[in-house]
């Protein structure tokens, strides 16, 4: 995990910054970021670890609790390591972690490695998340551009109507409607079935609806902002064609604020959409966190928190980098206003 983080970081930065920053500055900045992230991760995971151990002990036994006697309960809890003092338990956890061992499940699927459980589910969440993201980006940005170009005319009004509808109606409602009526009209399967490729379509489309509205709205706003700026007037006065202005200047500048959130959107697809996955019966990681907290499967909860926290930290970092690469005015290191 750490190695992937570091090498990914290096690659990106080398490509974009060779001519802007010196090697030493780059390394210094990344190391600082790295150390801060490690501290954050450590705090987050330790806190979650300790919280899980405050849960009632009966939760570890599932259905059979009434029939167990005291000797059995003690034996089982001791074997699970739950009777050791908290710092001993924490120590074991970090020791295993440094060896790359995420632990084994205790109640969700006993004796099965956590890595194996998450691995088998992550593909589905990633697929649907990325598919939805790609659809949303293409559809959303195109729609935003179209709306900005036909400002206050028909397409703009239509787009606005769509955005308002999506924002006002709760996602749960339109997801459900889609599932019931679209499957009826087009004769699609109601539930996800991995052997039926047709069932891969609707969940991804449903997930894309919300973000599409978001991207469209922001794209339109930033483009309209840019179009009103002085340098565009100059470009027009210079005689540049509309197409060139849009492509080389407006689009690029409008995209900058959105770039910051792009890595986060990509990485958060790992988390999976809890609602869509439960509605279409998709075996992804969406419901996994909630499920494992309820069942008090500590190793899986800890592993998931570790992954999600790392995802959050990495995506913030990459987002900053990406944004800086688009906009030369942004200087990540120094404090200071716009030059």
């Amino acid at each position: 995990m750490l190695i992937a983080y570091i090498s990914g970081l290096c690659d990106d930065l080398i490509v974009f910054y060779k001519d802007k920053w010196g090697w030493q500055q780059l390394l210094k900045y990344s190391l600082k970021r790295l150390v801060k992230s490690m501290v954050t991760l450590f705090i987050v995971i330790s806190v979650v670890f300790l919280f899980m151990r405050l849960m009632p002990e009966e939760g570890y036994f599932g259905q059979g609790y009434e029939k167990l006697d005291l000797v059995q309960r003690e034996a089982i809890l001791t074997n699970l390591g739950l009777r050791d003092p908290w710092f001993v338990q924490l120590g074991h956890f970090y020791k295993d972690l440094f060896h790359g061992d995420l632990g084994t499940s205790i109640t969700y699927r006993p004796k099965v490695a956590v890595a194996e459980i998450i691995e088998s589910k992550i593909f589905y969440s990633l697929y649907f998340g990325l598919a939805a993201l790609v659809i949303a980006l293409i559809a959303g940005i195109s729609m935003g551009i179209l709306m900005a170009r036909s400002k206050n005319k028909f397409w703009d009004k239509l787009g606005n109507g769509y955005i308002v509808f999506i924002s006002a109606v709760p996602a749960a409602v339109y997801y459900l409607f889609l599932q019931l009526y679209v499957t009826d009209i087009f004769n699609l399967p109601i539930l996800f079935n991995k052997s039926n490729p047709v069932s891969f379509i609707l969940p991804a489309l449903s997930m894309a609806l919300g973000p599409t509205a978001g991207y469209a709205m922001w794209m339109r706003r930033y483009m309209v902002d840019e179009l009103n700026k002085d340098y565009i007037k100059l470009a027009r006065a210079k005689g540049l064609s509309n197409k060139v202005i849009m492509r080389k200047h407006v689009l690029r500048n409008a995209f900058v604020p959105m770039a910051q959130y792009l890595p986060a959107s990509i990485l958060y697809t790992l988390v999976g959409s809890i609602y869509i996955e439960s509605l279409y019966s998709i075996p992804g990681t969406g419901g996994l966190l909630v499920d494992t907290i309820q069942r008090q499967d500590n190793p899986i909860v800890q592993a998931l928190v570790l992954i999600y926290a790392s995802v959050g930290i990495i995506s913030l970092f990459l987002g900053d980098m990406l944004m800086a690469s688009f906009d030369p005015r942004i200087n990540l290191d120094k404090q200071g206003g716009i030059r």
């Binding site: 259905q63 059979g64 167990l68 006697d69 005291l70 034996a75 699927r109 004796k111 991995k194 075996p283």
Partner: protein, 617 residues
């Protein structure tokens, strides 16, 4: 160009029509119903390791994959399975089983691995009793086997001292702690199942984590196992009794919304059976076509009762001390005992024929009997079991007496904390019905029932086990064929209602009267008749002194199913009832009328079969 396209389309269309015509084969006069079962489920298995789990869901799967020494037929009569015959020593301590020869362990692909031998039962028990394996059913085994508990606790380290031995490859011997006449009924429980020692050592920690790390000797193999997706069981070709396995394939598809979607899937013909949720029963009963496809589900031996808490630990604002003082008064308890209208309460879960699920005793009817006389008809229990506890006049009578006796000691109305689980819409309705009904009957000057909703996660931990209730619906299931199993919730070690803390019942030895009665019954090992009568008296005492209000049996409801219910193996405990061996799929679902006729016939046949079996002994 257009003409060419039109011509091509016509050709394509006619070809598809012709292809359709060719495909339909001439129908057979008598089509055999395809013996393949499919259904949807929402609760996924956590493990396939049958030696450690205590989940009903997982028992049901294990029942079809691994056989036990004995099994039950469709009337509940014990039949040989992996054991062909057995005998008990004269002192009742040593049970010897002769094993069936030539039974094979196979792997998930159906390939033979080894023969099933007596050592497999010893290895299974060794695994269960080894503390580090975290078996949740170990206590059932060590409650009867000699030195088993000592081995579990580590006081004995040599497993050969424990009361299970392979005398020879096909002779297995169990030595018990004390004579246990119901020992045979315990053998169909997962902790007594065999396992191949060599395979277990090879797979180590991975045993039972998926279908490839498991061996099978039962009617089915687990061909596919994909958690949160599906599982498929296929008939075991090498099964010793394969002529009695009619359903060849069992397909389970995971579906988070199984409970709500399954009736729809059944109507479309995609699954073999679907339980009808209580909320949809009316809809199905009012539709003439659908009505013909549903039948009642039989009641189970799970017993439900309302308990009075003698160790209240709830919020001070509900006055636990006040409740404690009131509940220790016999007349107060009796007034509530007679005030609960069980039929009204039951109608929330069983709107059609609520009476069939009600019970006036803790031990259900038809559980066990002595020489043909049902346990619930023994001694003083007979009158209780046939009389409904609901009696408005008596309730008001006891109320007057209670208010007189408790004047000055207790503040009226007494606050009655009654929690319920919000995930069950039936229970939510029932709590409201009971609150209204009892308060109206007894008057709000006497009791003030406060219903408290709790979420399903950790429900029991938050309520019953923590003493956080005054009056609450509880349940219990039997583990073996003896009345002792239904006394477990009321012992001093249990966390149900702390009856042992009731103030007026202490006897000379410092224990409560009920506890002494139960211990005396438990001590009666040799004379089964006397033993059952003593337990019946203890239960009568429990009910007569209104420590609990027996309420109902589990099961019930309606199901749309193509399985013939009267071909299924039957037993009140253990895993036999979950076996698909012997079951047949019909061409259409059974309706209520046919079911009732069949059930009556089955009950008659069952009592005949039990009599025959009893005489053989």
């Amino acid at each position: 160009m257009k003409k060419v396209i039109a011509l091509m389309l016509t050709v394509a269309l006619s070809m598809s029509v012709l292809a359709g015509c060719k495909d339909s084969a001439p129908k057979d006069k008598k089509t055999d119903v395809k013996q393949e079962y499919s259904t949807v489920y929402s609760e996924e298995l956590t493990t396939l390791n049958y030696l450690v789990t205590a989940s009903e869901n997982e028992f049901a799967v294990a029942a079809n994959l691994v056989d036990c020494l004995v099994e039950h037929d469709k009337y509940g009569v014990v039949k040989p399975s992996l054991a062909t015959d057995w005998s008990v020593s004269s002192d009742g301590l040593v049970w010897t089983f002769n094993l069936r020869k030539g039974v094979k362990w196979v792997d998930a692909a159906g390939k033979e691995y080894a023969e099933v031998q007596a050592q497999d039962f010893v290895d299974g028990m060794n695994y269960v009793l080894d503390k580090k394996n975290n078996s949740e059913t170990a206590n059932l085994a060590y409650s009867v086997l000699k030195d088993a508990e000592k081995f579990y606790k580590g006081e004995v380290t040599d497993f050969t001292q424990v009361g299970v031995k392979a005398k020879s490859p096909y002779v297995l011997e169990y030595t018990l702690k004390a004579p246990t006449p119901y020992f045979l009924s315990m053998l169909t429980y997962v902790c007594f199942m065999p396992v191949n020692g060599k395979f277990l050592a090879e797979t180590g920690d991975k045993f039972g984590t998926d279908n490839k790390t498991l061996l099978y000797n039962g009617a089915y193999l687990l061909q596919t196992y994909e958690p949160q997706n599906s599982r498929v069981l296929v008939a075991n070709d090498k099964y010793w009794d394969k002529t009695n396995v009619f359903i060849k394939k069992l397909t389970y598809t995971y579906n988070k919304e199984a409970a709500t979607l399954s009736p729809e899937l059944f109507t479309r013909g995609e699954i073999t059976d679907a339980t009808i949720p209580t909320a949809s029963i009316d809809e199905w009963m009012n539709d003439p076509t659908k009505k013909e496809t549903v039948r009642p589900i039989a009641t189970t031996f799970y017993t439900f009762f309302y308990a009075f808490n003698f160790n209240p630990k709830f919020d001070v604002k509900y006055q636990p001390e006040n409740w404690k003082a009131a509940v220790n008064n016999l007349n107060f308890r009796k007034s509530l005992f007679n005030a609960l209208d069980k039929t009204a309460a039951m109608t929330t879960a069983e709107p059609y024929e609520p009476a069939r699920r009600l019970s006036n005793t803790i031990t259900p009817k038809n559980f066990i009997d002595i020489k043909g006389v049902d346990y619930t008809a023994l001694g003083s229990l007979a009158k209780t079991s046939s009389t409904s506890s609901f009696d408005a006049t008596k309730a008001k009578d006891f109320k007057t007496k209670a208010m007189e006796e408790l004047k000055g000691k207790v503040t009226f109305p007494v606050k009655v904390v009654m929690p319920y689980n919000t995930s069950s819409s039936d229970w939510t309705n029932r709590a409201q019905v009971i609150e209204q009904q009892m308060e109206t009957l007894l008057g709000k000057d006497f009791i003030d029932i406060i219903i408290l909703p709790y979420p399903p996660t950790g429900f029991l931990n938050a309520t019953r086990r923590a003493g956080n209730y005054s009056f609450m619906e509880c349940n219990w299931g039997p583990d073996y064929a003896d009345p002792q199993t239904y006394t477990d919730p009321f012992t001093s070690e249990s966390n149900y209602s702390w009856i042992s803390l009731a103030t007026d019942y202490k006897e000379a030895n410092g224990k409560g009267k009920y506890e002494n009665m139960v211990n005396a019954a438990k001590a009666e090992i040799l004379d089964t008749s006397k033993r059952y009568k003593l337990f019946a008296d203890a239960e009568q005492f429990l009910i007569d002194q209104a420590f609990v209000i027996p309420y109902s049996l589990g099961g019930g409801g309606f199901i749309a199913s193509k399985l013939d219910p009267f071909t299924s193996p039957y037993s009140p405990f253990g895993v036999s009832s979950s076996k698909f061996k012997g079951q047949k799929i019909m061409d259409k679902a059974m309706n209520t009328a046919t079911y009732k006729k069949g059930f009556d016939a089955w009950q008659k046949a069952r009592s005949e079969a039990l009599k025959v079996a009893a005489n053989k002994k």
